[in-house]
Amino acid sequence: MKRNIAPWLEAFLAVAAITWLTATLLPILGLASSALLFLLPVLMAAVRGGVGPGLFAALAGAAGYNFFLLEPRYTFRVHEFDNLISVVVLVAVALVTSRLASRLMQREAEAQERARLSAESADVSNLLAGHPSQTALARAIDLIESRYGRLLLPTNGAMPDDRAAFSSLDLAAAAWAAHNGDITGHASEVMPAADWTFLPLAPKYRRDGGVAALARPMDGTTRSSGQIEHLRQLSLLLGQGLDRQELETERRERELLEQRDHLRRTFLDSLAHDFRTPLTVISGRLSELAQQHPDARDALAAAQRLDRMMNDLIGAARIEGGSLAPHLESIDLIDVVSSTCDDLQIPAQNTLKRNVAADLPFVIADPILLRHVLSNLIDNAFRHAENTVTISAHGAGECVLLEVADDGPGVPPSEQTRIFERFARAEGSDRTDGSGLGLAIVKGFADAMAMSVTVENMDEGGARFVLAIPLAAKAVE
């Protein structure tokens, strides 16, 4: 317990000087002014050394005044009651002055401390504003650690991960802080016996905030409540830094995902084109061959299936690539249906019923795309049908509804929205083959042609895909 004795010594010297001065000049100064002069060392001592030296100067001054100046001089004896009062007044004035002076000093010290703290907050903010956020955060943590001791931040979840560093008391305090948004642990009101202080990283109203853990000072002292409050502000700043870091990570991940997607699309595109040419040659030669040799028909069918899948792939690539520009024209639906059905290979045990009236109004569509859509729908229907697939069409107000129905198991309600996504395949449909792109292309092409496509389960069983095709302008009139 070492104390700086300089202010005490200075106070004593100042009192001695004033005593000597007043004692020698008493006849000139008079008692009243002399008494006032004793306030000078008190003020000086209080300003320079605080309450202790101030009080010391006051008492020493009172003693010196009593001994050297007050009648009878050179004794501590007090003869008249008034004289005692003047000693008391001197002490009282000295006490008040020293209190005031030291309070001013205290205020100044507090103001300086506040300035220091806000400067520190600003430093941390500046560090956190740096780029990239990860190093900025690390720098800010380094700054705080260098001034306040070890600091742990959560990297994943609400609590710092280094669980080995914590006792069960610390863990409970951390859980409390994470759940309630209170400061807990060392130097707080909740579980002050813990070795760490847990500071919420987010304001209290946010429920998802994590907590930072700050080790108690190495020298075993308790942090002051002011310091804890300041550290809370800093931890809120750190929380913002963490949020920023998280956002940045998210953005980077999204960019990465987009890049990967782009790469995949380009790949698909070129793949589709490069397969196309040899496949055309193969299926051409095979169809020639099949006319002469019935044995080659399976090969032709396989090639045709491959061709359709290729078509789908290219279609998908076109939809994805945004290069789909439909050539819309007035067409007769029955032509499209017939030409599509003619090209179809109907599986052996299945039948295709056509129920399309010849007097349907003209519709507006891209004939090639519509054919693709229709063939995909029929293809899909055959894949799920037990026996029969029915194509029907009828007018309904401003559009013609083209329906493709099967007598299969139908589409589970949960799948009905997902079914038009790419690579979505109905559950239990593994036995059927297909690219998984067919319906996605149906949806993509239908959207491009301003048609809507929906799926529903029929009462008598089986699924029904409904394509609403807008009427041609002439027909509307």
Partner: protein, 634 residues
């Protein structure tokens, strides 16, 4: 090696200095009035030489027998894990007798009650007697009584007013100031003994015996006043926990005892000198403020200031002692919970109790205005202190017999002289009940009544609650058979009875129709030991997957922090979902067939309603507490 012994010696020295500032303040300010009062009692028909020597001899031997032999050598060995004081002795005696002897509780309650009587007189008397010293300053002899009372009240009010801000910052100065005080006592004494060495004859106990045998009833009155020399001896054992036995013994033997002895001898020498002058002039000798007259005129003002400082320090020690005793009394269940504030962020155990503080101040002011002079007040002083001493001696007998397992006969033989002496002093003081001794007795009676009603009411409440309660085991079984909705999180239910389901739990289930994933039924118990190590406090007993019984055991000096101590158990509180504390708050109503007399129930109702919030006492943050009310009819 060398260094450790050096630092050990250093710390003993530091502790001794600290003890001098706290422990001996009360006994060290007795010279201000003790000799004067004793001589005043003897001086009904003028003072003779034999009377001066006789009174002095009594005082010296009182210090030797009561303080040195009984307290410093004997009672200081009787500690409850290092803690002393009347309640620590009570707790130790309870432990030794298995808590079955009602007399132990009665003695403890009596001792505590009388301590409060002591605690209001000590500040009033010592500060007043120091301020009265102003009159002995040359030129101030005409100071009027209202002025003295004004200064005294000013000092006392400011002393009590600053308590809330904590005294830790100025406490460092207590030791050095008291050291100066005792050195001044010794120096003044030596100076006067040198002028009149024949006073040393007072060491001969025959003088005391002769005085008593020749003075009859007056002798008893004198004895009551002589007893003032040993007031404050109780602090020697009460503060043992803070400083340890060695520093207290060392401080007494090496400094305080010699200083007091020299000073009393000096006062006697001064009185002899005054007697010689009076005889020479032929006037009868008058009693006077011997203590202040010992100082030469020129230093008298300084001595008055020093004495005032010393009495302020002594009063501070008594006030702190009153907080500490109240804290222990609450922990041991003798008093309702009161608001307790920590005054220091850095030091645990620096407490302030507003209720105790303001009640003490009120008592002190009443005394100052009621008695108006230290002489009048001195008549009231002895009885509370001797009462406490009688209690202490009785407890010491029980402890030596039951805890140290001494043979009852030998114990009785050892204790009997002390007890006889205490009773003798008690009787001597009882003679002055009418002169003012009734005041501390009244205070003690009020406190005793409060303690009695609180104990009785508490017992009745517990009996009623367990009558109405549902068995916890059955409850848990029923709940596991038909589980209600479970919500994430931990609920802690505070209860007094671990075997029945807490009413807060039943209410919560009834109204919220859900229970938490983990339910801890918690009982906080106070043990008869002063401290319990944090790791030994919690005893857990699992009932099933969702219910736990927990017992938190605290010593009566421990700082209670329920969340921290629960959290020390691994995995208990660190789960998800947060923690809620459920507290049942019971309102007392008078039953149609009351258990206690109606007036007692009313007092108990008031005590119960005004008792401080239990959650604050248990350090549970108020924003985590759910209070559920219930009614109890007594």
């Amino acid at each position: 090696m060398n260094q450790t012994s050096h630092s050990q010696r250093n710390s003993v020295a530091a502790l001794t200095l600290g003890a001098i500032g706290v422990v001996y303040g009360d006994i060290g300010t007795s010279p201000l009035y003790a000799f004067r009062e004793a001589l005043g009692q003897a001086a009904s028909g003028g003072i003779a030489r034999d009377e001066i020597v006789g009174v002095l001899s009594l005082a010296l031997w009182a210090l030797i027998i009561v303080v040195t032999l009984k307290y410093v050598l004997f009672l200081s060995r009787m500690d409850n894990n290092g803690e002393g004081g009347v309640l620590s002795l009570m707790a130790l005696a309870k432990r030794a007798t298995g808590g079955r002897w009602p007399i132990v509780l009665l003695l403890g309650a009596m001792g505590a009650a009388m301590f409060y009587g002591d605690a209001i007189i000590t500040p009033a008397l010592s500060v007043l007697s120091a301020v009265e010293g102003l009159k002995t300053i040359p030129g101030m002899g005409d100071m009027s009584q209202p002025m003295i009372l004004g200064v005294t009240v000013g000092i006392l009010v400011s002393l009590f007013a600053i308590q809330s801000r904590g005294t830790a910052s100025v406490a460092v100065l207590f030791g050095p100031v008291c050291l100066v005080w005792f050195l001044a006592l010794a120096a003044l004494g030596l100076w006067h003994i040198a002028g009149n060495p024949e006073i040393l004859a007072a060491f001969n106990p025959l003088n005391a015996v002769n005085f008593l045998t020749s003075h009859g009833v007056t002798g008893l009155f004198v004895l009551g006043a002589v007893f003032l020399t040993v007031t404050g001896a109780e602090a020697l054992i009460a503060d043992m926990g803070h400083f340890g036995r060695k520093p207290i013994q060392l401080g007494w033997v090496s400094l305080v005892w010699p200083a007091l002895t020299l000073n009393y001898l000096g006062q006697g020498a001064l009185a002899l000198k005054a007697l010689a002058i009076a005889e020479a002039t032929g006037n009868p000798m008058a009693n006077a403020d011997w203590f202040f007259l010992m100082a030469p005129d020129s230093l008298r003002a300084a001595l008055v200031i020093l004495a005032t400082l010393a009495t302020i320090i002594a009063s501070q020690a008594v006030i702190t002692g009153a907080y500490s005793l109240s804290y222990q009394a609450i922990a041991l269940g003798l008093l309702p919970r009161m608001t307790i504030r920590q005054t220091s962020e850095h030091q645990i155990g620096q407490i302030y109790m507003p209720g105790v503080n303001w009640l003490l101040l009120a008592g002190v002011l009443l005394l100052v205005f009621g008695f108006k002079s230290s002489s009048a007040m001195a008549a009231a002083y002895g009885i509370a202190v001797t009462g406490t001493m009688v209690v202490t001696t009785c407890l010491a007998f029980i402890i030596a017999w039951k805890y140290w397992n001494w043979a009852p006969v030998w114990t009785a033989l050892l204790i009997a002289p002390f007890l006889a002496l205490d009773l003798f002093f008690f009787g001597a003081n009882a003679l002055r009940v009418t002169e003012g001794g009734w005041v501390p007795l009244l205070v003690a009676a009020i406190m005793g009544l409060v303690i009695f009603i609180w104990l009785k009411g508490h017992k009745a409440t517990r009996a009623r609650t367990s009558e109405q309660g549902v068995g916890l085991g059955e409850m848990v079984k029923a709940l596991s058979a038909r589980p209600p909705l479970r919500i994430e999180g931990t609920a802690v239910f505070l209860t007094q009875d671990l075997d029945s389901a807490p009413s807060a739990f039943l209410h919560n289930l009834k109204h919220n129709k859900a229970i938490h994933r983990t339910n801890i039924i918690l009982k906080v118990e106070n043990q008869n030991a002063p401290y319990i190590a944090p790791d030994d406090r919690l005893v857990l007993e699992r009932i099933d997957d969702h219910f736990l019984k927990a017992r938190l055991r605290y010593g009566y000096m421990d700082t209670i922090d329920v969340p921290s101590d629960l959290a020390r158990a691994p995995g208990l509180l660190d789960g998800p979902g947060g923690i809620s504390f459920f507290v049942g708050r019971s309102a007392i109503r008078v039953a149609s067939k009351p258990i206690m007399p109606r007036w007692m129930t009313f007092i108990y109702m008031n005590l119960h309603r005004n008792a401080a919030d239990p959650t604050a006492y248990f350090s549970i943050p108020p924003n985590q507490v759910i209070e559920l009310g219930s009614q109890i009819e007594l």
